[in-house]
Subunit: 253 residues, 2 copies
């Protein structure tokens, strides 16, 4: 049974890229053939795991514009069972083209069609917006996983995101649903974090993962080494919490 | 002498909104007639200071579409010398319209023309992207202030932002320049923070403010009270560092 996830939240800096990389690596550890898709023009998912691959010869931009076939856009990584569809700043121009051409946001869905059967899990890292690229991700998958920083502004953004998911269900992808919310950078010593958790569990009861990711310096150091934290510092609290989160996601599937 | 700033960085969650609110309040404290503009559809600048005003009757969307005159879009706050041009999710649809209509990104510049003389400082909070709204801000001001979280991905995003500023200088606003970089959520105990600071000071020598903003829980609690941290917790490290940053900005002007 294959499952595909969009890791999305328009609020910036909440741990989308960090969660996409480490959940994808977690799935690969569990021997699921996993494709990690970087759909953010910042290219942080791609640069966050540069130690795991050689060259990039194309990627999301070339795939979405039909310039190269999907087999050429995807690269293998040195982590068994993990492949990457990389991205870069040229995706920015695509965002403007899609808005201009009244795209139906199914470019990614069509691009991935031929290779879907080759993967057990597809994980898409989204940019911090609800624009054409995130809508492309929502058309291409059936599950949305929301990393939520336990802070005021992130909590505030949840309702805008949820109503976007509902609009996409009506017009673009009826099977799209909220899979779960993952609390990130969670510091249980602060009242703010506990208050946010309480509030989210009240409104989205049953949809908040029991595992939360603590703030952990090894997590923020890992991109500098080009590796997921579960490879960079396997014994750290950050790494252990992402492995637990992967197990909880697999259990809930 | 009036000065206008865009607080910009496409990397999400680096402290754009927090810096825009607290620098604007700092200028108001120093008796500069200050206009704070929320150009992010998330509306965090607006919700971050809700305790300072009554109701919102329109805002950036109405101004940019010409629906209401600028005097009606701007609201006074209870902080002397601070006014706000609020925003909300409807700005999202404007972003798509601008891309579609090949806008020249001068809607905001034109909208503010009539009232520029009434303000000593205009501060614009930008969304986490380099799209039409941020380009509008770059056309409307002459200075860019970049909040930089001392982390790997934020540092990586600096070169994309800098080349966007250069492109805007060539085609849209020849007077636009990088005013300064402000290090945010700075934890001097970690190697990562010190390494990022060293790197930035090497490439952008003389443009990094001496004042850095420490990570401080009072800063993240302030939006829940609808106030800038310099009003919510005036004796906190977070508040004192933003007042020092405001003084340093005024000194460098
Ligand atoms: N649990 C954590 N502990 C410490 N640092 C973290 C943690 N999770 C993420 N970070 C760091 O915080 C920053 C923001 O995380 P990340 O870039 O993954 O968020 P994002 O939502 O993808 O951001 P954007 O909105 O820009 O795409 C990064 O520098 C990352 O290394
Ligand atoms: N120095 C600080 N110490 C602690 N928390 C902070 C600090 N600066 C900002 N924050 C918190 O970190 C989060 C990110 O900050 P903020 O929302 O200002 O960033 P942003 O760049 O405007 O984000 P976006 O890219 O979504 O617009 C917020 O929840 C804010 O309250
Ligand atoms: Mg990201
Ligand atoms: Mg913001």
């Amino acid at each position: 049974m294959s499952k595909n996830y969009a890791i999305a939240m328009q609020k910036g800096g909440v741990g989308k890229t960090t969660s996409a990389i480490n959940l994808a690596a977690g799935f690969a550890f569990a021997d699921y053939r996993t494709l990690l898709v970087d759909l953010d023009p910042q290219g942080n998912t791609t640069s966050g795991i540069t130690a795991l691959f050689e060259e990039v010869s194309g990627g999301a931009y070339e795939l979405l514009t039909g310039a190269i076939p999907v087999e050429e856009a995807i690269i293998e990584t040195s982590l068994n069972s993990l492949s990457l569809l990389p991205s870069g700043p040229d995706l920015n121009s695509l965002r403007a083209d899609m808005a201009r051409s009244n795209s139906d946001f199914t470019e990614l869905k069509q691009g991935l069609e031929e290779i879907r059967a080759e993967y057990d899990r597809i994980i898409i890292d989204c940019p911090p917006s609800l624009g054409p690229l995130t809508l492309n991700a929502f058309a291409a998958v059936n599950e949305v996983l929301i990393p939520l920083q336990a802070e005021y502004y992130a909590l505030e953004g949840l309702s805008q995101l949820y109503s976007t998911i509902e609009r996409v269900q009506e017009r673009l992808n009826p099977r799209l649903k909220l899979f779960a919310i993952l609390l990130t950078m969670y510091d249980r010593r602060t009242n703010l974090a506990r208050d946010v958790r309480e509030e989210v569990e009240k409104f989205f009861s049953g949809q908040v993962l029991k595992t939360s990711i603590p703030r952990n310096v090894k997590i923020s150091e890992a991109p500098g080494y080009g590796k997921p934290v579960i490879l960079h510092a396997p014994l750290s609290r950050g790494s252990k919490s992402y492995l637990r989160a992967t197990e909880e996601v697999i259990y809930r599937e």
